[in-house]
Assembly symmetry: C2
């Protein structure tokens, strides 16, 4: 029997799926973080461990990974030469490193044209037009990721401090936030000096919730975030028949707030990112088989 | 002869001025950082060293500091109990810790009503109305400091990445910025992961410069920054006869862009922050002398 491996690795864990060469998934597995930018060797080890666990789980000899092609979707794969370095040290029959958005796009819309918007702690977009993929956004919390949970949370803290100073009108939401920080703006500042994007993002659902109740500050923040997401979608130059999938934790909160044009394009994702990696691995297997003939 | 000490301490250096009790400055001196939040003991040592140097420079015995009252204006003095802790371990006849904005306000407008706007790497505001001082802003780069050099620089990098992605129209300024980062958005992101506020702020004068030439992105950023500064000034509830002093490196760039109402209130600062500390120390000396009588 011939196998293929799909790998989906990120900063907190690495998932693997072992499938037959015609795409029947036999086993899924999880190992530790696979951050190729901060720890290439550690990432390699967790990738191999996830693959090994998938073979074991499926009841096959892990030594077969040496004759199994793998597609790896990894955060940070489009930065520098980390992807090429990793490909050189992996034990699979063939290894191709894609961006995390790349396997997510394949999973969500399949091999045809279409687009994904990843709306979570960060934001990123990828569209495929006439077979050619293009990614935008995803530049991180500090100067990018407009509309992300992290940016919405950061905006909320900023508007809360402005309300505290009397520079802008407050609202039930800014009052609730001041209460969280014991009515002490210094506590807000202390929080922000240590907070990572996920810490800011933790406040985002609360902002959507208050916006639904008509809170003026929440609406101001969410309207800006929706406008930012719309602007990014517009830059993808989609046509109305392109399928558009919203992914990430904020996807269900954004979906009803998008423009009519973009709402009409929304489709449920066909599969998750790991499924996308498996599908790409099947194509890689076919290529290798054809080259061998 | 009776002396008073004015101290102006911050994260990079500590300045001291020794003056006679009627305000004639005899010597000024500089020592190392006085950051009471991160290193209280180190701050205390540099404060005492600055005072010692001022006595030596003036040709007087530094042991006289034990009978000399001091006003200290220190960044972070309004946070937690650092100020009280410091006052307890200083060797002066009497020590009173004020915020850095407090001594700057005293220096700029004297003991009467008036306001300062500190427009530099960060932004902060302080107004005195009917003898009562009120500070707003100064909450730092992450969720505050609207209109600061750091925020303007951060906005520039954000708009540059949006222009790179085709989400917004570019301009000569965003082109120039992309060239700085070798047309590689990843280099921008790398920069932002390490950059401190001053690093972002380094780009601010360039934004003002391009705005003066009509660059669309620069104008968009500066118009937003000016609106933020105007909103903060409006929250101070100044009346037209109140003197308003703009301080900080961006003051001359902002002055011509403010509303007519606020431009009409602008006055040159009477003295710098250290001069303000000396003036407050003179009042402290008089209080102590009256109590002793």
């Amino acid at each position: 029997m011939n196998f293929v491996l799909g790998i989906d690795g990120g900063g907190t864990s690495c998932r693997a799926a072992l499938a037959t060469a015609d795409g029947v998934v036999l086993a899924r597995s999880v190992s530790g973080a696979a951050n190729i930018r901060t720890d290439l060797t550690g990432a390699r080890n967790n990738i191999v461990e996830a693959a090994r666990l998938a073979f074991v789980e499926a009841g096959h000899d892990p030594a077969l990974m040496a004759v199994t092609p793998a597609i790896l979707g990894l955060a940070g794969a489009n930065v520098g030469t980390y992807a090429q370095q990793l490909e050189a040290i992996l034990p699979f029959a063939a290894s191709r490193v894609e961006s995390d958005a790349g396997i997510a796009l394949e999973g969500a819309v399949g091999p045809g044209d279409g687009a994904i918007a990843v709306l979570g702690t960060g934001t990123a977009y990828m569209a495929r037009k006439n077979g050619k993929a293009r990614a935008i956004g995803g530049w991180g919390f500090q100067v990018g990721d407009q509309g992300s949970g992290a940016r919405i949370g950061r905006d909320l803290l900023e508007q809360t401090l402005l309300a505290h100073d009397g520079v802008r009108e407050g609202s039930p939401l800014t009052q609730a936030m001041l209460a969280v920080f014991r009515y002490n703006p210094q506590d807000v500042v202390e929080f922000t000096t240590r907070a990572v994007p996920g810490d800011f993002g933790g406040f985002a659902p609360k902002v959507f919730e208050y916006a639904a109740d008509g809170d003026a500050v929440a609406l101001w923040i969410i309207d800006k975030a929706v406008a930012d997401v719309e602007a990014a979608l517009a830059a993808l130059n989609l046509v109305s028949q392109d399928p558009l999938c919203l992914l990430g934790g904020l996807a269900p909160l954004y979906a009803p707030r998008l423009s009519e044009r973009h709402r009409a394009m929304l489709r449920p994702a066909l599969d998750d990112a790991l499924g996308g990696a498996v599908r790409m691995a099947m194509r890689l297997f076919t290529q290798i088989a054809e080259q061998a003939r």
